[in-house]
Symmetry: C2
Subunit: 418 residues, 2 copies
């Protein structure tokens, strides 16, 4: 068998550990140059494939590739670009195959969430039909933790650790101040459709923190919420609230949609956190502080979960190894074999069973009152935040993150309009 090239791309919102998967893919490929001649990465994700804008990863030193393991963000650039369905836009899929053909690409490693699993599956199908079969392997990644079959999604564990630790630290702060000052702290976390990340903030309950969670799974009940908060303030002197950005009123309107206009007539910006804080202030009168973690939470490689980094890397390696075993249209997965101590191994799922399936947080992970998490949820979450693995720091005090050279591969085809 002649060695073919591999194509690797990062898709969708990036994470603290997606580069660890890239590192796993490239290091595994470099260990098999008899079968994988080179890894070309898409500049800015799948757009790089469509526009034939490929990055020659062989130009990167082994040190630079190793440093990806401790560097957050998407080292090759990512994109928010969803290929339309095969029926609506066969042209784009055909273009992908043409580019793969022109660059002798026999392996397609796509590192992303649910949408990219679907794209990956279609590339596999269409390439067969077009007589240039490409082995398409999906490498899971999403802070949303919403892919099916796999125990969890790389990226989630590190966000969970960051939110659990940050919520604890800020709660200690409020506890110190509550006698005469701030009694309410609200932290807004990611999660439009699922409360996985907010649930991680609720782990602070085990550290003695009075904490109330607001999940997208539970319609916001203002009166019940205010009662829950006041109960905590009465008992503990303060209360922490972890609110998902997707928290919504019973009619489905997000709390973050304030419905007000600024002096220019534009819809008022604002997160869910200031809205929740304002409701508490108005009804209960407590002094508050609020934070919106936004990108800080998903890029915080300085506080990654070692479990998460290990799994992200292992899944990248496994993608290559499974491709070399002849596998196609699959996604390597994490299989949990024990909770305490946590044990896991690599499994695999057919992309036909992954594409377009969204894993929700089970309702038995949320406590009966809707504001907390259950023991089942804690048993699931704790292993994912275990272990610390810090990036190296430079003498000047800044982390030593790598920026790649990103040298381009000469183009062979005519241009393509997206």
């Amino acid at each position: 068998m002649l060695a073919k090239n591999a194509f690797y791309a990062q898709s969708g919102g990036v994470t603290a550990v997606i580069n660890a998967s890239a590192c796993g893919v490239i290091e595994a490929a470099r260990a098999h140059t008899d079968k994988i001649a080179n890894v070309y990465a898409g500049r800015n994700g799948i757009i790089g494939a469509l526009t034939e804008d490929l990055i020659d990863t062989s130009q990167e030193s082994s040190e630079a590739i190793a440093a990806l393991k401790h560097t957050p963000s998407g080292g090759f650039g990512s994109c928010r670009f969803k290929l339309k369905s095969l029926e609506d836009n066969q042209r784009e899929y055909e273009r992908l195959i043409e580019v793969f053909k022109a660059h002798d690409i026999g392996y397609f490693f796509y590192n992303g969430g649910g949408d990219s699993a679907d794209t990956c599956f279609k590339v596999s199908q269409l390439s067969e039909k077009m007589g240039f079969p490409v082995q398409a392997i999906h490498v899971p990644k999403t802070v949303d933790n919403d892919l099916p079959i796999t125990d969890n999604c790389p990226g989630f564990g590190s966000v969970a650790k960051y939110i659990a630790v940050s919520t604890l630290e800020a709660s200690f702060d409020v506890r110190s101040m509550a006698a005469t000052s701030t009694k309410i702290f609200v932290i807004e976390v990611m999660g439009r459709h699922a409360g996985w990340i907010a649930a991680a903030g609720l782990l602070t309950e085990d550290e003695g923190i009075p904490v109330v969670g607001l999940f997208p799974e539970v319609a916001f009940d203002k009166d019940k919420f205010l009662t829950a908060v006041e109960d905590k303030v009465t008992q503990y002197g303060y209360c922490t609230i972890v609110v998902s950005e997707g928290c919504h009123w019973p009619d489905g309107t997000f709390l973050a949609e304030q419905g007000t206009r600024d002096s220019f007539g534009h819809a008022q910006l604002g997160g869910a956190a200031p809205v929740v804080a304002g409701l508490i202030k108005d009804a209960l009168g407590h002094k508050f502080h609020w934070a919106v973690a936004d990108y800080l939470q998903r890029s915080a490689r300085h506080l990654a979960s070692a479990t998460d980094v290990d799994q992200a890397y292992a899944l990248g390696r496994a993608a290559v190894e499974k491709a070399l075993e002849g596998k196609n249209a699959i996604m390597p997965t994490v299989v949990r074999t024990a909770n305490n101590p946590y044990a896991w191994e690599i499994g695999e799922a057919a992309l036909s069973e992954v594409a377009n399936v969204e894993k929700k947080m089970p309702m038995d992970f949320i406590s009966a009152d809707g504001f907390g998490i259950t023991e089942q949820c804690k048993t699931y979450l704790y292993p994912l935040i275990q272990g610390e693995t810090y990036p190296p720091y430079k003498a000047n005090g800044m982390p030593d993150y790598v920026t790649l050279k990103l040298a381009g591969v000469p183009r062979k085809l005519a241009g393509f309009e997206i």
Copy 2:
């Protein structure tokens, strides 16, 4: 000389390292039981002294006291409570002395910012007058970095490191996404009156990040700002903005005061970050994300600066040692003796020169265009964020922060109305 007791209290907004100073005070006192019988801490700061609500630190194990060094927040509780001037409220100062007398307290260690330095100074003066002289030593602490004479204030270096690293990480994230998605990231940081913390975010410029700073020292010039942002987006494809909460319009109005009302008629909540992001969106049309770090930044012991922790601890120890040398009405300080590599030693300042003096960021630390920092500023800042010192973590993945027993000292006096 008979051993006297010491009183220690935490004042104002807490930090990631104020407990390291507490650890320094208590460990140094425990090494001199011939002179300091016991350390009583004020429950919730100076309020604990006024209400005779004292904590017996001898009930805490040496392990618990050592763990304060890696635990953020105020372990004994802090407060926002400013004693009025001696003329306006001699009663409160006299009460302090009465409580000190009742509990045989000969040393007063007050851990705070400018206001508490002033209180500390007055306690020293009044105690002499009242015939029960107490040696009053101020231990500097404030994320605002606004105390004079000392090279910097414990608490600031860790916030600076957190903001520098977080800004870098989020900027890497935006850089990954900018081709098709987010091009603007705005992070709001603390600093009502001074841009010290925002300046730390600007250190990312040396890491290749296109970053624009908005400081309280420079009135917000919307057009000039939008031009600066668009220049960065044109050149780099994205732009990061670090905005101080105290950023204000030329008329002095804070950007965070939106002047709008919600449906209940209440003034609209909102930070400076969403306002800045909205201005950019309206004028330039770029997709944005914004974060408000709030308490996360000052409580982030998980990413403390080792320099900061070392200095916080050393200043706590030095306070006790200077008291034992007979010093009174002073504040131990950090004296910088070299920049690169950074070297420092402990000095001291008379409280008469510290009280009511606010150190501003020098104008030559801000670049000519008002949106950046100068080399002088970087030379000053880098040493303060150098070194990492992580808290221990438990097997479950959470940091092993200590919560003290906080056993009370039996009261000897009648109650006191504050």
